[in-house]
Each structure stands twice: as C-alpha cells, then as structure tokens.
Amino acid sequence: MAFRVELLLLAILVSLSFGSVDSDDGATLLEIKKSFRDVDNVLYDWTNSPSSDYCVWRGVTCDNVTFSVVALNLSGLNLDGEISPAIGELKFLLTIDLRENRLSGQIPDEIGDCSSLKSLDLSFNEIDGDIPFSISKLKQLEYLILKNNQLIGPIPSTLSQIPNLKVLDLAQNNLSGEIPRLIYWNEVLQYLGLRGNNLVGTLSTDMCQLTGLWYFDVRNNSLTGSIPQNIGNCTAFQVLDLSYNQLTGEIPFNIGFLQVATLSFQGNRLTGHIPSVIGLMQALAVLDLSCNMLSGPIPPILGNLTYTEKLYLHGNKLTGSIPPELGNMTKLHYLELNDNNLDGLIPPELGKLTDLFDLNVANNNLEGPIPDNLSSCTNLNSLNVHGNKLNGTVPLGFQRLESMTNLSSNNLRGPIPIELSRIGNLDTLDISDNKINGSIPSSLGDLEHLLKLNLSRNHLTGFIPVEFGNLRSVMEIDLSNNHLSGFIPPELSQLQNMVSFNVSYNNLAGDIPTSNNFSRFSPDSFIGNPGLCGSWLSSPCHEYHPTERVTISKAAILGIALGALVILLVILAAACRPHTPAPFSDGSLDKPVSYSTPKLVILHMNMALHVYEDIMRMTENLSEKYIIGYGASSTVYKCVLKNCKPVAIKKLYSHYQCLKEFETELETVGSIKHRNLVCLQGYSLSPSGNLLFYDYMENGSLWDLLHGKFQILSKTASNAVMETVDPEITATCKDLGAVKKVFQLALLCTKRQPLDRPTMHEVTRVLGSLVPSTPPPKQPAPNLTAPLPSTKVSCYMDEYANIKTPHMMNCPSMSTSDAQLFLKFGEPS
C-alpha cells in the first residue's frame, strides 16, 4: 500500500514538474521566436524580461481566464526561418496565422499536438515537404489554408478524418498523386482549392457528395478522364473550375442541373457539342469553354443566359453561324468567339449588347459586312474581326472604342473613313491585309493615343500624311505593301517612342529622315521603294541606283560624304577617347558627350505614355529623397508614374564609352523577356546621366538576400550548400556534385564587385564541362521555378472575383508548366 502511495506521489511530482516546464507559454513563444530569423525588429517585444507579459506581445492573444495563448497572428511580418516544433506546446491555440511571410522548412509534426486548433493558415510562404500526417489529428480544425507554398507529396486521405473541415485550400503547391475520393465525403466542406498543383487521375463521381460545397477549383493540374456523368448532382456548387487540365470526352448532358455562377472548362480536350441545357443554367455569370475541341454549332438557347457577363467559346472547332439570340444576353461584357470555324454573317443583333466591352470573332470564316449596328454597342472597347472573309467597308460609327480595333486580313474595300479619326482614345488600329483603297486621311494624325497603326497590304495611294508627326505615343507604324508615293515626312522623326516603322514596298521617294530614330530601323523597313534613299552605307539606293539621284549634284554628294566622314570622326574621337579609370561617384559630370535633347527610349509598353520630362518632374530631377539603394554600378531611384506600375531608375555611375555599343546592348537586354528577369522598360541618355528604367520590384536587392538574411555565402564557405538547395533536387538529380558546382557558379556571378565575377565565356565553359556528352532526356524539373510573387489575396471572395476574370489569351498552352517553359528558354536554339 505504502508502495502505491509513494508511486502516486511520484507521479504527481513528475506531472507537476512537467507542468511547470510545459505550461509556460511565454518560454514556448521565445522558443518559437528563436527558430525565426532576424526578427528582433518585428518581434522586439518578445523578450525574456520578468516584467514582460507574453499576452501583450505582438500577435499573441491569450485566454482571459487561463492566460494560455489562444491565437498567434504573425501574418505579413516578413518572417524568415522555420516554424518551431515548440508550437505543439501551445495546446490551447485556436488560431495560427503565419501567412505572407518567408517561412521555409517543413510543417512540424508537433502542430498535431495543438488539439484545439480551429484555423491554420500558413499560406504564401516557402514551406516544403509533405503535409504531415499529424494534421489529420486536429479534430477541431475548420480552416486549413496552405496555399502558395512548396508542399510536395499526395493529399493525405486521412484529411477526411477531420470532421469539421470547412475550408481546404492547398492551391499553388507541388502536390502530386490523385485527389483522394474520401475528401469528397464531407457534409460541411465549403471550399476546396486545389488549383496549380500536379494532381493526376480522374475526377470521381463522389465529388457531388460535397453537399455543402460552393467552391470547387482544380484548375491547372494534370487531371485526365472525363467530367463525371453525374456532375449535375453537385447542386451546391457555385464555382466549378476544371480549367487547364487534360480532361477529355463530352460535356455531360446533366450539367444543366448545376446552379453555378462560374463554369470554367477552358484549356482541356473536351469534344462533342456544347450541350443546349447550358442555356438553362441561368445563374451563370461566367461561362468559359474556350480552348477545347468542341464542335458543332453554338446553341442559340445560350441567348437565354441573361445574367452572363462573360462568354468565352474561342479556340474550339465550332461551326455554323453566330446565333442572333446572343443579342439577348444583355449583361454580356466579354464575347470571345475567335479561332473557330464559324461562318455566316456577324448578326446585327449583337448591337443590342450595350454593355459589351470586348468582341472578338477573329480567325473564323465569317462573311458579309461588319454590321453598322455594332456601333450601338456603346461600351465596346475592343473589336477584333481579324482573319475572316468580311467584305463591305470599314464601319464608321465606333466612337467609343478605346483600345484595339483589328479589322485585318479580310476583304474590306473602300477608303479609310475619316470618321475613324474621331475615336480619340484608340490605341490600336489594324486594317492591314484588306483591299482598302484611296489615300490615308490626314486626320488620322489626331489619334494622339495611338500606339500601333497598321495599314499594310492594302491598295492605299497618295502620300504619308505629315500629320502622322502628331502621333506622339505611337510605337509601331506599318504602311508597307501599298502604293503610297511621295516622301517620308521628316516630321515622323519627332516620334521618339517609335520602335518599329515599315514603309517597304511602296512607291516612296526622296530621303529617309536622318535622325537617330530612323537610323535604328533596318533597311528592311524601306526596301521595295525604288525612289527612296537611305543614309546608311548599305542602302540599296547607293548600291543599285546611284544614278537615279538626278536632283542632287555630284558636288553635293561629295559634300555630304565629307560631312558625314567628319561627323563620324568627331563621334569616334569623342566616344572612344581613353577613359578615366575611376568611376564617377555621382552623375554630375563634365559635359556629356553630344546629345542635345535627352531622349527616352521606350522598349516596352508599360512606360509608353511617359516622356523624359515627366519622369524628371516626378523625381524632382532625381532628388536624393527618391533613392532606394546603391548598387555596384548605379544609384537606384524609385519613381511612381501615373497610370502604371512604379519604375526603378538606375543611374549609372560611369558613362559608357561607346554610345552606339551601349544602345545596342540596351536594346538587346530590353528585348529579353523572362519571368526571372526584371524587365528593362526603357533607357535614356541624358545630361543627368545614363538612366535605365526597370520594373520596380519589392523586397530589396538580390545581393542583400544572398549576403544578409539567408547567409548563403557563409553556408558555401562552411560547405553546407545543400542546405539551401531545394530538397526535391536531391530526389531527382543523381549527381549532387554537379548541383553544387552550378550553385557555386551562380554565387560567383553574384559577387559584389563586377571584376570578381566570371566572364560569360568562363560561365559557358564551366557549364559545358558539367553537361554529359549525350544530351540528357528532357525531364520536367519541378523545382527550378520559384513561385511568382503572387497577388496577395486576403479573402476567398476576392479569389472568387479573380477567377471570374479569366486570362484573355488565345489558347495559351497553360498545361506546359513553368518549369517546362524555363527549360525551353534555356534550350540552345
């Protein structure tokens, strides 16, 4: 007996001592803090001092009575490091919210010990590894939000043992395997977000057991098979997004029983007809069946969908004519029927769609005229009828059109109506490849917002209007393959934003304007004009038709040649004189070389509406207060432009020695578009220095990341490189030595001093030495891709809104993963 009492006492003693260690939530919180990195600035009040009450610490909420921690909200604090296993000690936690940080590592097993947990949100981090089994032990869990991480492995079927799960959002990870049928057997699940993973297998008929679910999203996976025949039983669904998978077969007839607001099947391989019953789904706001292999006609009954705002049927094999009943879809904003085999007329009834914003019927076999009624679509912003057999004349009445008008590749006749020039906001006008005749109305020069003008391949005659010099925003002008005559108006050289200009194959004569702008256009822009003479040395005019230039005397030629030679020498002398070795610490130099007017060369559309003066005004002539950083070669300023994304301005410390070379290089750089590269938007060679304009990226510089918080370099030094490499690489890559080498090479390329960095030649040599002699089989390398800086979506309704706005692309092959695109980019051409 005494023995038992002793035992009991001991047990109490043990449990007490255990309790004293365990129930100290403050100590546990400090443990959790330790596994974060560099948090002293954000978690400064998490201290060990005796006076500090952990219940008032940032992000901590305690129970009023027991003082145990019930909520941990550390979202959006830029936290680095990992989630500590100590979190399992906080047994009374109801809420963990760590979203929008930079946490890495795995989800600790111990999270399964937080047995009261109702909400776990780790979204928008860099967490890897599998979803731990222990999460299935959280029987109170209602919200499990792990989206936008790097989780791998299957969706555990044991998640079906969480009885109260209401939101399961695992979107944008690298999850693989099949969707476990068991998670469909749930009366309370409201939201199932699985988009953007690598899920395979088929959709189970059990999915309609989700009797409480309103949001079902498996977009952008690799699902195969057909849409379940009983899909109509999913009567609770409001959003059904199966887009960008590899689904085959026909759309089941019983889909008509769904009461969804959004139905997205685009980017699959669906065949057969569009079932007429879809016309009965009157709650539909978005119907997207685009980019499939659907055939047959567009069911006229779709006209019944009077609540539908977006109808996307493009990129299929639809035949027949466009039903006039579509004119009854009074709420329609987007109507995309392009890239099908539709024939017949464009029904004039479409003119009833007064809310229509975008009408695209391009690349069909449509005939007849463009109906004048379309001008009643007073909100029409974009019209594309490219690639049909339309005849008649260019319609007159589109005064509200703002962005794109593409009437190209049809059989339109008659002249360009003067009325077009009243569409003041037009940014694209493409009437190319028609049978337009007459002259170009000079009033087109009033379209001051025009970015792209294409009148090529018509029968236009007359002169290029001098008024084109007023198109101050224009970036592309193509007048090629017409019968235009006369000179190229010198006023065109004022168009500083123009990056493409083509007047080839006309009857133009005279001299090509000699400004900088024009010298950038290749001879291809001017060939086929027997009377046109260029100032470049290989001009066909000089080589083939020297005698035709009767209007200029030989003396004049000599004079011009001599003058050119002198200018050339001056430039050469100025540009290539021996440079001063020390880099300038600021941009205020002695006289800049020879540019009189600072120009802004725009390489991409984003900055199109801005001029050099605007930028100088907004940054108060690059005032110090706009400085956001100093690089090895430049000072970086931030400039927030009107109506577009902020730009980062790099002011180079040293002027380039050869301007030409500099410009050529910049244009090469500017033409590169890659998701991992910050896009060069433009440049300017100005008195205040050579300026480069980039997209402004948040999160500071790469150098800081490498050397500061991650301390990758010190890890390299201590030979622990593999800690920073994605673990998946170790699973897929046999030769870890090669990985290590590439890694080290990459680090060399990021050395602070340019001189320390290897040359491109050295880099290719090293990489070449790593490549095995036989080309390796092309495998998708799933973790080459870092997640894109995603738009941060705070609530689910927002996400829903996002989904209602599908991408406006012509059949993008969304099934090719980012990794494949990356590989493609990396392939030697």
Partner: protein, 493 residues
C-alpha cells in the same frame, strides 16, 4: 437533390428537350420535364426559372415550413407569402405536374459565413413535428442547432420514410438513444449524427436501411456492440469516438463498397475478422485506440485499394508482424502500427511498399536490424522507429535522412548506428537522433529509461535550447533520475 437517370429516362429527356427546342420560341423560359416516382418534375432548378405565373407552394407544406421556422426562432419566415418563390438559402423546392411547389430540402444552422442557412436560436430551438407534413422532403440538415437545450432525436422523423434521403443532425446536441424508428427511413442514403451526446446501442433496425451510402455516428457515447452489417452500397462507415464494445462483426466483409472504415477510439476487442479481405475498395481503415487482439490478419493483404491503415494503440498481444501481411498493399501511403506491443523483427516486405509516405512502428518491441530495402522507400517523409529494440546499421541514404529531417525518429533503440562513409553524419542532427553514432565508433550508452520518460512520446526537441531552458531541463532530468532511482529501490524492496 440527387438525381439518377435510368437510360430510358435519359433518352426520353433528350427527346423532350429536342422537341422543346423545336417548338418553343426561344425567348420564353422553359423547363426540362422528367417524372420520377415522387411525382415531382425534375429539372434545372434555380431561382430564376420560377415563373411568376401560376406557380405556388403547396399551402399545407407552407404552413409546416412556418412551424419549423418558428421552432428554430426564425419567425421572419411567416411574413413570406410564398416560401418557394422567395427562396432563401437552405430551402429547395420542386414543382409537380400541376405546377405546385413542394419542399424537398431544408437546412438550418451556421455552417459558415459563405453558406447562409437560417440560423437557429440556441435558447429555444427544437425540431417541429410539422416536419412530417412535408411529404416530399429529401434532405434535412440541422447543424449546431439545439446544443443549448439537449433533446432526443425525435422519433417522428421515422415517418419521413418514403422520401428522406439525407438526414444530417450534426453537432446538434441530441441526447438519449438512437430511435429505432430511424430504421423506417428505408430510402436514406446519408445518415450523419456526428458529435451529439447519443447513448445506448446502435439499433438493429438500422440494418433495414439497405441503401445507405454513408453512415456517420462518430463522436457520441454509443455503447454495446456493432450490429451485424449488411450494406451492399455503403461507402463510408464512421463509428469512431464512441464507447462501442464487443468484436468487429465478420459481416463487415460483406459491405463490398466500403471505402472508409473508422472505428477508432472505441473499446472494441477480439481479432480483426478474416472476412475483411472482401473489402477490395477500402481506402482508409482506422481501428486505432481499441482493444483488439490477436496477430495482424494476413487477409489484410487483399485490401488492394488501401491508402491508409492505422492500428495504433491496440495491444495485439506480443506477436510479430506477419511477414506477408502487407504484401499486396501497393498503394499504401500511411501505415501506423505504433504502441501495439509488436515483437520480433521488421519484415522485409515493408520495404517493398514503395508508395509509403508515413510509416510509424514506434513504441513496440521490435528487434533485429532495419531491413536494408528500407533505402528503397524513397517517398518516405515520416519514419518513426523510435522506442524499439532495433540494432545495427541504419540503411537510409542521406537524401532520405535529409528529406525527413526531424520527422525521422530513431532514438531509444538498443544499438542503431550509421555508416561512417555514407555521409550520413553531416546531415544528422545530433539533437534529433540521440544515442546513434557511427558504426565504426564505440557505441554510445543507451539511455533508454531516462529518454523514454523524459520525452514521453513527443520526441526530443529539435530547436536550440536557451541556457535557462537547459537549466530547467537538467533539473528535470535529475528529478527523473531520482525518480527512477527511487523506483528501482522500491522494486528491490
């Protein structure tokens, strides 16, 4: 509203639609008509399709709905002139041939912010007997409605037998036994009584509901044994977290459609019946925390669809793991055999389950070495072999060790060691793998007793411990050493 077409109906429907398409002017709304046994017209139902002309709710049903709404504190509903026409979330109606609307679905309770079912006033809600006046009711859902006033499941629900297909009374605060009248609901497909306070035994009459596809009685206080089961279309069977006793009925093996069996956290005893081999569709089998006995049955191997198997916490008697027990389970991803008093070696066949992601064999008496083919379990993300008597070389490659990180638990074994040449040591965190050294070096002292007590199953911490915590920890360890010392002394006395 589950709709199942026969082929004939489908064809008829198709023809009808085609005829309608031809005959009707397109501007007029129309409905697809299909009759089923209930006499209702099935068709795409949405708020928009209800024509204002001539359609109204059955007046008797309307009164019944008013009663039911009043009983849940939703008096506002009585102001609605026509409950079907002004549809709210949580009510669904269907017309019959005479264009009279009938209520087919009613749902109550705050399921979530996104689903606005009528809420329940927790202080006075009850289920009105008027529910029996809804002869077309197919779905009835009450969620967290009556928790303040515990009341039994009303026996009158049994009168809805001819139509009711889904009955969900989830976390609804019901007490008392399951009424045997539920057996009258012969058309029931889903019965969900999760997390009430129901006691008594599972009524035998439930066996009459042969069309059940999902039966969830989990989280109650049900006692007695599981009755004989004969549900040929049952997919989901969840009886977990009750007080059920007795053995697993062999008739379970006749429920061929089962994909999930969860009997965890009961007091079931006896062996796992051999008849279980018939459940070839089963994906999840959870029998954890019961009192099951006997060796693991070899018929387990015929569960070819199995993805997750959890038998944790059943002291099956000191048996070894049968070597061919898991042979056919090629799809198995989760295998939990912790705390099962298992003896003998780890069978090599486990190493052939290459889809395994989670393998727990901890807290047993397994001895011998870890089979060398464990290095083929490349997908493993969690491996627990701790608290056994394993010896010899750990055959895991460094990539596996690295991938699992702290989810690899090998501590508290008799003498595991790693191969010095494998590069294992540079990734192996000495904190998370105490007591494991290089095979070429002298073995560290096994400290089984102390470790076992000190970690009490939660494993050692992997975070860095502050000096303060170290101090506390060492005091604590000393205390435990004292304890074990006293214990030893006591046992000697």
């Amino acid at each position: 509203m589950a709709l199942f077409f026969s082929l004939q109906n489908f064809v008829a429907l198709l023809v009808l639609v085609l005829i309608f398409l031809c005959l009707l002017p397109l501007a007029r709304p129309f409905t697809v008509i299909m009759s089923d046994s209930s006499g209702l017209v099935d068709g795409p139902q949405s708020g928009y399709s209800i024509n204002k002309n001539g359609i109204r709710t059955d007046p008797h049903e309307q009164e019944a709905v008013y009663d039911i709404m009043r009983a849940t504190g939703n008096n506002w509903a009585t102001d609605i002139p026509d409950v079907c026409r002004s549809r709210w979330h949580g009510i669904e109606c269907m017309p019959d041939k005479d264009n009279i609307y009938h209520i087919v679905s009613l749902s109550f309770g705050a399921l979530s912010d996104d689903t606005a079912f009528p809420p329940c006033d927790p202080t006075r809600s009850y289920i009105s007997p008027s529910i029996t006046k809804l002869p077309y009711l197919r779905t009835l859902l009450f969620y967290r409605c009556l928790s303040y006033i515990p009341q039994p499941i009303p026996a009158f629900l049994g009168k809805l037998g001819s139509t009711l297909q889904t009955l969900v009374l989830r976390e609804n605060g019901h007490v008392g036994p399951l009424p045997s009248e539920l057996g009258n609901l012969t058309h029931l497909r889903v019965l969900d009584l999760h997390k009430n306070n129901l006691n008594g035994s599972i009524p035998v009459s439930l066996g009459q509901v042969t069309g059940l596809r999902s039966l969830d009685l989990s989280g109650n206080k049900l006692t007695g044994s599981i009755p004989s089961l004969n549900f040929s279309v049952l997919n989901i069977l969840d009886l977990s977290q009750n007080l059920l006793t007795g053995s697993i009925p062999p008739s379970l093996g006749t429920c061929h459609s089962l994909i999930k069996i969860d009997f965890s956290r009961n007091r079931l005893n006896g062996p796992i019946p051999d008849s279980i081999s018939g459940l070839t569709n089963l994906m999840l089998l959870d029998l954890s925390y019961n009192r099951l006995s006997g060796p693991l049955p070899s018929p387990l191997r015929s569960l070819t669809s199995l993805q997750a198997l959890n038998l944790k916490g059943n002291s099956m008697g000191s048996n070894p793991i049968p070597s061919h027990c898991f042979e056919g389970l090629k799809g198995l991803m989760i295998l939990i055999l912790s705390n099962m008093n298992l003896h003998g070696p780890i069978p090599e066949s486990l190493g052939r389950l290459t889809n395994l992601r989670v393998l727990y064999l901890d807290n047993n008496y397994l001895n011998g070495s870890i089979p060398s083919n464990f290095q083929d379990l490349k997908n493993l993300s969690e491996l627990r072999l701790n608290d056994n008597r394993l010896t010899g070389r750990v055959p895991l490659g460094r990539d596996m060790v690295w991938r699992m990180r702290s989810k690899l638990r090998l501590y508290n074994n008799s003498g595991l060691c790693y191969n010095a040449n494998s590069g294992f040591e540079e990734d192996l965190d000495s904190w998370s793998h105490p007591g494991i050294g290089s095979c070429d070096m002298p073995k560290p002292e096994p400290a089984r007793t102390v470790r076992h007590l000190s970690t009490s199953g939660s494993g050692p911490r992997t975070f860095n411990v502050s000096s303060d915590a170290v101090f506390k920890f060492s005091v604590f360890v000393r205390l435990l050493q004292l304890t074990s010392f006293v214990l030893c002394t006591l046992t000697l006395m």
